[in-house]
């Protein structure tokens, strides 16, 4: 049998560790609250008639949702790193890029600081190495 559970039981201790992962935003309750309307807006694009209204006038469609102006602008810019900073979740943001006709590979590459070709080549070569990307504090 294994040793005692290593999973922290203290929520503060549990959450604090997430900020130590390089280049990563974990979808915590704080982000879920900040991004509630942003994510619900994205969810509305699951319906074909909403997608049509969205395509016809993105600005007007966004104005109908109680989001911050920063969130609206980041959606118009398709700035996915910014959207994650503003409480967006990638599976919800996927409704926006799917409506644009983009694949996960295309949309995700825009967050990596690489071109689509460079990103796709990195994946074919085995993906991004975890070495040096595990912990800011430990630099490993």
């Amino acid at each position: 049998m294994s040793d005692l559970p290593r999973q922290p039981r203290d929520i503060h201790e549990y959450l604090a560790e997430f900020d130590d992962i390089p280049g990563t935003r974990v979808f915590t309750a704080q982000r879920a609250r900040q991004g509630y309307h942003l994510n619900q807006f994205a969810m509305s694009l699951m319906k074909a008639d909403n997608r049509e209204r969205w395509k016809a006038d993105e600005r007007a469609y966004l104005d109908a949702w109680p989001m911050t102006e920063e969130q609206r602008q980041a959606v118009l810019d398709r700035d996915y790193n910014r959207l994650l900073d503003l409480g967006g979740n990638i599976y919800f943001m996927a409704k926006v890029f799917s409506t644009d006709g983009q694949s996960f590979l295309q949309a995700v590459s825009t967050m990596s600081g690489m071109s689509l070709d460079e990103y796709a080549a990195m994946m074919i070569a085995g993906g991004r190495s975890p070495v040096g990307a595990r912990s800011i504090k430990d630099g490993n």
Binding site: I11, P22, V26, N39, N81, Y91, T99, G126
Partner: protein, 279 residues
């Protein structure tokens, strides 16, 4: 009596579903990912499971931010493929097994797992891609399916230990169902992948294979792996792998691997797949 005869783990990468739907599985990019499922497709034809308990996560399809159940069980007669933003996948409707699903729900609640019961739910690629990988493109899926949807999107997801214990409770529930049914349990999602931020594209072949190693035999080391290890080592979306532990927990003390497959990449993700038998 009903019995769990096997467990399967598999990635549920949406791009694999697209490749299947568009008949592109023989293309050089996709062929090696699909080839590792040929053995399982042939084996499933022989096994003829009556029911698959399919553990997966919804990706903002049936559940939005309004309601976030940690463990939800689908008790409906049938489940429609979800429209995830580009129209529903052209795959058969998923037929449920309400009698067994309600039996599992009731038994698990008495066993102190407070399941959310779902009577109307669309199922997204998390559930339908594994069906395509294991059964190909039939006119109707060859078995009934009981969806178990796990929250792995909004933190915290359930711990690995809790997932393993839920698997044990599901196995106990199945064993007390009076009808003679051949039941499989599948755990889906993973393996290493990160779909966000500057660290996007992370893959950890060595860690993934160590994870697969520890599903075999009698070790229960994985039930105590904390979430932070998944996040650091397998990427932010690698956390889906906790769902595999529900499958593993349902197989009892010891397992034997019948087949195993690992391939990088499919889209942003490492494909992992294993077929296990309880021993």
């Amino acid at each position: 009596m009903a019995r769990i005869t096997a467990g399967i783990a598999s990635s549920h990468i949406p791009a694999l579903g697209v490749a299947s739907d568009l008949d592109r599985t023989a293309e050089p990019y996709w062929a090696p990912a699909f080839a590792g499922y040929d053995w399982t497709k042939a084996w499933e034809v022989e096994q003829k499971p009556d029911v698959v308990i399919l553990v997966y996560n919804d990706h903002a399809s049936a559940f939005d931010m309004k309601i976030i159940p940690t463990f939800a069980i689908g008790c409906a007669e049938s489940f429609m493929p979800a429209d995830e933003g580009w129209g529903p996948r052209p795959v058969p409707v998923v037929m449920g097994h309400p009698d067994l699903a309600w039996h599992i729900a009731q038994s698990c609640i008495l066993d102190e797992f407070d399941m959310t019961i779902i009577n109307d739910m669309a199922v997204d690629h998390g559930l339908t891609v594994p069906l395509s990988m294991m059964f190909g493109k039939p006119d109707a899926w060859p078995c009934r399916v009981i969806p178990i949807a796990v929250n792995v999107v909004t933190y915290p997801p359930p711990t690995g230990n809790r997932c393993w214990a839920l698997g044990e409770a599901i196995a106990k529930a199945v064993a007390s169902f009076p009808e003679d049914l051949n039941v499989q349990i599948w755990g889906t999602g993973g393996m290493s992948h990160q779909l966000q931020g500057p660290r996007a594209g992370l893959i950890n072949r060595e860690w993934d294979n160590r994870f697969l190693d520890r599903l075999e035999g009698d070790t229960d080391e994985l039930r105590h792996m904390p979430h932070i290890d998944y996040l650091r080592e397998a990427g932010s979306e690698g956390i889906e792998l906790v769902m595999w532990l529900i499958m593993r927990g349902a197989l009892g003390r010891r397992t034997r691997a019948l087949h195993r497959h690992y391939h990088v990449p499919a889209s942003n993700t490492a494909v992992g797949h294993i077929v296990l038998q309880p021993e």
